[in-house]
Subunit: 321 residues, 3 copies
């Protein structure tokens, strides 16, 4: 059902809600399109007229300066008109009222909604209710999905490793509460990644992790052995104060990525992090700034990947309208 | 005096502060101009260069996500440069300081001020003090006036009923505290509407209501009989907790618009609401989403009407400068 | 060191952090370039394509509606894409984290950072760490520097007095805590101003004031005698409640600029204030609105001066990248 909602009847991407249910061809098309946009953002005039005269509404029900910035820049560089709304988590965000908000904005002839919301499924809810000419882009919904982050991670891996089939990728940290991890795992599987490992304490793993098509490790040193890609996750402060975790120091001792531990991976392994990182908690500062780190490249590629996704879904919505 | 302030010496609209004092010719010109802009907002590239290189400053002394969005979109679609300022209700908003704020922004060569303010008369105050090349647009001032809402309502009525002369229009709810109602009544009168009814409990009617040129009803069923247009007003929550009203349930029982009651009006009557509506308090959900409701069309037409008003007053200000 | 950081190896302005260390030729070039932009902001279409496709990030760690507005307008009129971020004074603004914020935004291919920060030296810190193609513009850092304000003041003086060599300029008020005064004094000295006077109570003067190349007065009447330019400073409310000052009334009696006192200066003296002014505390209302006041002109010229500085540093950064 999810894939139907994202796709037109002839299988083109119209909304971008979740990587789950998308084909390898669709993901590869996003990556290839993003490749062409990296040249736009490199050049002196970083602007193409693809979305000129279109209106992109950024609806941030959950505040995020960094994600908002990347979507505003992507939309500006596509020449869109932009409406950014920080919507307080009030009664207005629930059920019927959320629908009224959606329909009102849609009546203003918004062409694309970029939605970040603390509740899982919000972007799907929007996509179910918008008219045929309008696209919905999920910029993170609850603990469910953060598919643009997942795609920019794939783009970064492909740039450095060219292919996925022979790779071993390790994702380290709070898998349980991470929408980023969920999107990464789906994308890696769709792209036929050789092996996907998750490394976490039992308390930070979801139930039935193995059903996600990954190998589970509880020991970091063991899990990092000979991997090509290390993806660290941000540890949410609120987890640290809960019963789920021992102290920060103990977490770092067991699951923090140190220069020493990076040596367990392949010599040309890359280190990734969706940001913002807690230096000294999940990752040592020297690793974050080290020569194997591609963390800032992820940010740069994130603009091109978002431009690619926006232009792809906008062109389908225009055809449908 | 009010009309003088809004008009140039040869009777052209230069500020848009209040519908009171404007001629039928001016209102009709706004409606006709808006008609041409509906085609702009319908097409794929929703942008015209009318305000290119002009600066529109949106000054929101009273927060309103929805109204701000409509004005930002209207200005963007006219290609204006936009400066949106949320100005806290502090000492800075009173008397001398308000004037200093105005003069400072004017010194930045702002071409148009869109002002929303909790105090009645604020937009007039601004218009009195700006230079000859600058326009002021009232986006709602206290309980006084919300003239762009009034005009988009007229546009919606004309779209559905073609003329005003033979119409019977009923406005239902809190007339006393509603700047929207005040603007609607003025506009309907200027456009020679056949009959204008207001339907409200005595506690929610202003003194000397009849002097506004309307017929007063206290009974909803009686008032709705054979009308062509039903305009519901939003009931402010703060009125409900005051001594002015019985309970929400009792209000809905007496003044809530139900599907049953809609049948009292003419069969082709339209149902309007300025939004955001309180479903189940002043209007039944099924009526709001029903086939006679034109509530979302009001939002769409609101962009075209605001584009029309902005372009009309900007062209006069340019001539004057 | 400061000047090295602002200049390219062949002595061109690449960042604009502080007037200290800049040559007369560089300041004069800014003033001449701003002169050409005043015609842009005067004409009907106030826009030039100089920064089209460039991204300007306004980082406001310290809120300022007015300064933010002038930078947004300057960047819009240069056709830049603009990202405005209000960054809360949290842990994120300190040390390592500030650097992470910088590097993340830089990875989004921002071309210019406009930074306002409550800590002295923040803009320098940014300039030290950005890549070769990125410019940094100081929009006010702590009590250190506010160089765009300094330059717009010089522009205003030159417009009215044509030259600096034969002028006597008095700066009145809280010199000690004013980044504006610091920037003004440096600029006046670089431009070989005949005489620069500071007039303040001892508690509001920095140590070793004379080393700044100014003459110190504690008596306002004496200090104003025969000056060509009177620059009043804003008195921060927090100083008034501290032990540094007597009452507001007493301050006004001793250091407030009255119409009577303006007569002590030359007949064609101009009165300036960086705004926002406290009417009746440091300046009498009638003086602020009087015929010798050029306070609103300062605001207007401020846009042209900021456009000039932005276009100058952007062109150097483009060459360097």
């Amino acid at each position: 059902m999810l894939n139907n909602l994202q796709l037109t009847t002839d299988g083109k991407l119209k909304h971008f809600l979740s990587i789950e249910g998308l084909s390898k061809a669709i993901l590869t098309n996003i990556l290839d399109t993003a490749e062409s946009f990296t040249s736009v953002t490199d050049r002196s005039i970083k602007k193409v007229p693809i979305l000129r005269g279109k209106t992109v509404a950024n609806l941030f029900f959950e505040p995020s300066t960094r994600t908002r910035a990347t979507f505003e820049l992507a939309a500006q560089r596509l020449s869109a008109d932009i409406l950014t709304l920080d919507i307080k988590t009030s009664s207005a965000t629930k059920g019927e009222s959320l629908l009224d908000t959606l329909h009102n904005l849609e009546a203003m002839q918004v062409d694309m909604f970029v939605i970040r919301h603390q509740d899982s499924g919000s972007a799907h809810f929007f996509a179910q209710h918008v008219g045929p000419g309008v696209s919905v882009l999920n910029a993170g919904d609850g603990q469910h999905s953060h598919p643009t982050q997942g795609m920019l991670d794939m783009f970064t891996i492909r740039r450095h490793k060219q292919q996925f089939e022979n790779l071993c990728v390790a994702i380290v940290g709070d898998i349980k509460h991470s929408r980023v991890a969920r999107s990464q795992i789906h994308a890696l599987n769709v792209l036929n990644t050789g092996q996907v490992r998750v490394i976490a304490p039992r308390t930070l793993l979801p139930e039935k992790t193995e059903s996600l098509g990954v190998q589970v490790y509880h020991d970091l040193d063991e899990g990092l052995k000979d991997v090509d890609v290390i993806i660290m996750l941000r540890l949410q402060k609120e987890r640290m104060t809960s019963a789920l975790l021992p102290s920060e120091q103990e977490y770092f001792r067991q699951y923090g990525l140190t220069a020493e531990r990076v040596k367990l991976a392949k010599p040309d392994a890359i280190v990734m992090h969706p940001g913002p990182a807690n230096r000294g908690i999940e990752i040592e500062s020297s690793v974050m700034d080290g020569k194997q780190s591609v963390i800032l490249q992820q940010v740069t590629f994130g603009i091109a990947v978002r431009m690619a996704i926006m232009s792809i879904i906008a062109s389908q919505a225009t055809l449908a309208s």
